[in-house]
Symmetry: C2
Subunit: 169 residues, 2 copies
């Protein structure tokens, strides 16, 4: 897995804008209904790490994804999710590491489960810290929510245009 | 824009599985409510063409995307959208061509509007032909729906897990 410059891609993210998103974090069981998290206006981050990714990459990712100007403000300008300010829903998405091989998808480049979980947790935690340290975000009451690593991600998304972006690291 | 092997990327698609998706194809006007299309179970294809893409690539894309096994059948097996059989919602998504440059996204690699529209229309039409020629699809009443090229894509998505994939050509 390499990017255009030949360096290996260590993480892949797909970003979508939303006005509301709702993600199941614990499926229903016999005695208990499903549990879910939701955000209102903000950004959904689908994320996948590849073999070779380490903790070093996480800060760079958080810094880039929270500051890149791809949200639409009320005035129609492009601003970052921190500037909006908007909430962030982080969705672990191992399928993003897939590579088409004939008619099958292969996921050989994906990081191992334990390491992936650790990087995912670190990514979530650093996003939370960044949002918490923004006065504008705290005042607006926006938040970071996330799915459960390794689970099926049952997602409902409501957008005013997803403005889907791919950002690789 | 190049892939890992150094060849230029001519088209980028992001695929998501859905149980229902609804896309506005004509915004509301003073005298008229908005118009939309919808699909039930199937696959959403977000699509963007880059400079250099030509008609040659479309057939290969349609063949690959409709036959790659990344939908979940009732028994939990991975099957293609034609085998499912599921519907296909095609969403033009120029933002997918973006490249982060500092804190802005740049779209210099995107194909021109006229050419992009032509390739998009051709992609839609070839998907329609493929689905129509599948007895299983015809019998199940699945369909190809698509957004309006160049418009804002107001999308609602309901999934049992989006299983987001990236496939480039």
């Amino acid at each position: 897995m390499t990017d255009g410059a030949g360096s290996p891609v260590l993480a892949r993210t797909v970003l979508q804008q939303c006005v509301h998103a709702r993600l199941v974090v614990k499926p229903a069981e016999e005695q208990a209904p499903e549990e879910w998290v939701e955000i209102q206006r903000g950004m959904v981050v689908y994320i996948c790490f590849f073999k070779g990714a380490t903790e070093d990459i996480v800060q760079k990712m958080v810094n880039s994804l929270l500051h890149v100007k791809l949200c639409e403000s009320d005035s129609g300008r492009r601003v970052s999710v921190l500037e909006l300010p908007g909430s962030v829903l982080i969705v672990p998405q191992a399928t993003l590491g897939g590579k088409a091989k004939g008619r099958s998808m292969q996921y050989h480049g994906n990081i191992g489960k334990e390491e992936g979980l650790q990087l995912f947790a670190s990514f979530v935690s650093q996003c939370e810290t960044e949002l918490a340290s923004s006065g504008k975000c705290a005042e607006a009451g926006v938040a970071v929510k996330h799915g459960t690593y390794g689970n099926r991600q049952v997602l409902k998304l409501d957008t005013n245009g997803p403005y889907t972006h791919l950002v690789e690291f």
